[in-house]
């Protein structure tokens, strides 16, 4: 066990691409955590998606042993937090396990919206914060401007900010020294008290089972100990205790202030709750740690296999993903248009994208995702309350007294030449402006926005309007009653369940028209005219007509073509390709995929 005053627990707060992972790698390297040969680029982000996108999805931690200039040896625990708002709760638990943070800002880019949200969280946790200006070697670096920005926007003293280049190694020893000198050691912790540890995160390892990352507050965690999870009630016997150096390294015990892991025959990540308090089974502590929160999915969408035969594979893949990601939820869903699939809940849009990508990448599945939807709250006329996850399940409007939708507080940072376009985008999405300020050539604007307007294509629009320069962050502020209606799309007078959506009454017509126009271009022409309509209840608010096909004939058909013709008829009879103009129009899956990709207003 390490003496508390020789421990520093810290996290790194940074925007995507501002060099957090590279800086972490340099710190690890400097402390000799890995040999040159083991030093792969960006040790921390271990998932392929994390490496490619430069984002962190799961919290990770690394123990560094650092011999400081004062001659003492310190243990530095770097907690790597997920960098995205979708994982805001995980971020908060990570920060709660530390006493200080490095605020890493790209010296050419400046402060971004996401940085701001995380740095405020760190301030809320009473962190000491050391500003680090990274990439100072770049020609575009403007150290003085960025320092001023940190002071103006965040209100932190940036006069003794450390200048680094994680790429060249500049400023790395200064950074390590600052961690020891300027960040505090864990303030409390009794070795003899009953165990009290925070569950920071957990991940699934195919050999070890679930590996739980913990921060010890009081007491000692050791092998063979019987522990109890205070929230879930689970009791486990500890098999292994250790630290990440960054390789998993067994230790005898972890004491107050320390960060490490344990393994205890836990089968699924779902058995662990981030933020839970871990104590001794026989000698529990009297009070759990504060701040526990149950994580709820906020964005839902249907996932269907492109090929109906892959349904079982999809089910198996989701089960495997859930071993490692308990925050994503799913239940079976059957769609008339898309067949059997799952209604899935996610922490946010990035989370949705990550799961989708992992399913297709790690399990080789072709998926169709329906339009993302948010969670609506409804008060029924009989006084009961329901939550709606799928617009297709919308009850009859006469039974609904009130519909409430989730709203967010959005913070957008942008170079000011793009501000006009961004303001228009937010206004168009029913946004309410709450703040607008300028800091050195950049504007910061805050809007209240309905989440439902953001889940469609807000990110994409924002990116294209600002050519990728705007940054965006949000937090959910609660549900508000709005004039929401269910917009149905009817193809040949048949409602298409997978295209149903809830929209604000004022936006229904334009959304409906857009959808009809788009489908008209996407659905192949049939032998008869096909009406494509958008309707609210029984009332059609937009209509397009898919004109009948005029020509479908083979010009040359002689003796050598008879076999080909017959085989085509065999295929049409056997497959789904056969048109049924006497009943339903089959919408090809490509048309769905394209229709659901709502870009451009």
């Amino acid at each position: 066990m390490i003496s508390r005053d020789k421990i520093r627990n810290f996290s790194i707060i940074a925007h995507i691409d501002h060099g957090k992972s590279t800086l972490a790698d340099r710190l690890i390297q400097h402390c000799g955590g890995l040999t040159e040969r083991e030093m792969k680029e960006q040790v921390l982000d271990s998932m392929d998606i994390e490496k490619e996108r430069g984002i962190t999805i799961k919290a990770q931690t690394v123990r560094l042993t650092y011999e400081a200039q004062d001659g003492e040896t310190y243990v530095l625990n770097l907690m790597d937090t997920p960098g995205h708002v979708d994982f805001a709760y995980e971020v908060s638990r990570c920060l709660a396990a530390c006493e200080g943070s490095l605020l890493v800002v790209d010296a050419s880019q400046g402060v971004e919206a996401q940085t701001l949200a995380n740095v405020y969280q760190a301030i809320d946790q009473n962190h000491e914060i050391v500003p680090v200006l990274n990439k100072v070697d770049l020609p575009a670096a403007d150290v003085e401007r960025v320092k001023a920005q940190i002071e103006d926007v965040i209100g932190l003293d940036a006069s003794d900010a450390i200048e680094t280049s994680a790429k060249t190694g500049l400023g790395i020893s200064e950074t390590l020294e600052a961690i020891v000198q300027r960040l505090p050691a864990p303030k409390t912790g009794e070795v003899d008290a009953p165990l009290k540890a925070a569950l920071v995160d957990a991940y699934y390892d195919p050999y070890l089972g679930v590996v739980v990352i913990v921060r010890i507050h009081d007491g000692v965690l050791k092998k063979k100990q019987k522990i109890k999870m205070m929230r879930t009630g689970g009791v486990y016997e500890i098999d292994k205790v250790g630290t990440f150096n960054p390789k998993l390294t067994d230790v005898e015990a972890l004491g107050p202030g320390e960060v490490g892991y344990f393994v205890a025959s836990i089968k699924e990540v779902g058995e662990t709750a981030v933020g839970d308090t871990i104590t001794e089974d026989k000698r529990p502590c009297d009070k759990a740690l504060p701040g526990y929160k149950e994580v709820q999915p906020v964005v839902f969408c249907g996932l269907f296999p492109m090929d109906a035969g892959d349904f079982d594979d999809l089910r198996a893949a989701m089960g495997k993903l859930r071993l490692n990601d308990a925050s994503f939820t799913w239940e079976m869903e059957t769609s008339a248009a898309l067949g059997m699939g799952f209604r899935c809940g996610f922490l946010g849009l990035l989370h949705l994208e990550i799961i989708q990508e992992r399913l297709s990448r790690e399990f080789d599945l072709d998926l169709i995702a329906t339009a993302p939807s948010v969670v609506y709250e409804m008060t029924m006329t009989d006084g009961s309350e329901i939550e709606l996850h799928n617009p297709a399940d919308m009850p009859d409007v006469v039974r609904v007294a009130e519909i409430r939708e989730p709203w967010i507080n959005a913070t957008i940072y942008t170079p000011d030449e793009y501000l006009g376009g961004i303001l228009k985008l937010c206004q168009d999405r029913r946004g309410i402006q709450t703040e607008l300020s300028y800091v050195g050539g950049r504007a910061m604007v805050k809007y209240e926005l309905p989440l439902n307007e953001v889940v469609f294509d807000f990110y994409d629009r924002l990116k294209s309007i600002s050519r990728g320069y705007a940054s965006f962050d949000y937090e959910i502020v609660g549900h508000r009653a709005e004039n929401l209606v269910k917009l149905q799309i009817l193809v040949n007078d048949e409602p298409v369940d997978a295209l149903a959506m809830l929209v604000h009454r004022d936006r229904a017509e334009s959304r409906g028209r857009q959808m009809c126009e788009r489908l008209k271009d996407l659905i192949p022409r049939q032998m008869f005219k096909i009406p494509i309509q958008a309707a609210i209840g029984g009332k059609v608010i937009a209509r397009e007509t898919l004109s009948a096909m005029r020509k479908d004939v083979t010009a040359k058909c002689y003796g050598g073509d008879a076999s080909r013709k017959r085989k085509l008829l065999d295929k049409q009879a056997a497959g789904k390709k056969r048109m049924r103009q006497f009943g339903k129009v089959e919408i090809p899956q490509e048309a769905f995929v394209a229709a659901l990709r709502m870009d451009g207003d």
């Binding site: 032998m527 096909m549 005029r550 020509k551 479908d552 004939v553 083979t554 010009a555 040359k556 058909c557 002689y558 003796g559 050598g560 008879a562 076999s563 013709k565 017959r566 085509l568 008829l569 065999d570 049409q572 009879a573 056969r578 048109m579 103009q581 006497f582």
Partner: protein
Amino acid sequence: MTRESAQFGPQYGFGVYIHWPYCAKICPYCDFNVYAAKGRDPEPLLKAIRKDIAIHRPRMPEHGAADSLYLGGGTPSLLAPDAIAGLVTAAGDSFGLKHDAEITIEANPNDIMRMDLEGLKAAGINRLSIGIQSLRDHALAFLGRDHDSDVARAALKRAMKIFPNVSIDLIYARPGQSEDEWQAELADVLEYGAPHISLYELTIEERTAFGKAAARGQMTPMGDDDQADLYELTQDVLSAAGLPAYEISNHAMSEKYQSRHNNIYWNGGDWMGVGPGAHGRLSVGGNRYASEAERQPAAYIANVQALASGWSEASKLYPLDNARELLAMGLRPSSGIDRTRIESVSDRTLSQAKIDVFVEEGWMVQDGPRLALTARGRLLADALTAELSP
């Protein structure tokens, strides 16, 4: 319902098709089984085809003399008249040719200019199908043809002096072609008075030079609506000129000038296919068989020598196969098809509800058991066939 066994029906005809796969130049739109002729000795393949023809006769005791012989390709007009005579004689010796049998050869305009047409006639040929394709130089260049419009015109005149029964092939619905241009070109063609014209919309086939150009975005095929307009215009112009359609793409001055050979395909008759890649349909012993010869000339020749047949495969067609082929082919001619043939061969009834809708929409006419497509219906033939298919 008793099933019409797959017996040979002499009333639907029996024909012999010979495929000559070599061409002086491969056209960018053509996806037939063709090979460059340059430097090839035609003799081994001629010998193999003659042997293949001789071998098959004993396998088909129920068939009398053939109603037609068709030399297609490729470019069979590259052959010398005596080689052509050799093939006609082989077919006559083996299968027998009715005294009034239609004996057609496909010919390239360049070949017609240099050929001994009297010699061709003496070889037994009584019908010429000429690949004119267009009477416009820019179009011929676009289509990659090895002749210009002057040669096309001269060849047409020359052929018609010797052969009263001449057919010409034209390709329209070329990218950018306007209705006016096409109407003028058609009028130009009609001046020559050919009694049979085949008119094909340019079809972009995947594995051709045009197919690859279209996939790369270097060529944009004409849209379906514009093609439909040109098709309708073609129907009007040809009907007014006394050459109504007797099949989706084929027009004749009178029944006498219709292609007897091609009618065998559309009416569900039997045909023997010889030469590389040729298909056949033969009814023997109550079963109908589909044959396909080896596609590669060398493999075809080797097969004939080793196995005494150029076929690579011959498979028995099942009741549903026969019904689907009868329908797909039978809806093409304007005279249509007797539905009871399809129903009895498959033991399945065609949907009267669908037929009623087709009639109501003006796509089909029903005359007793006979189903036939209208001009508008012919434009949708593939979709209607798929819909009605048992």
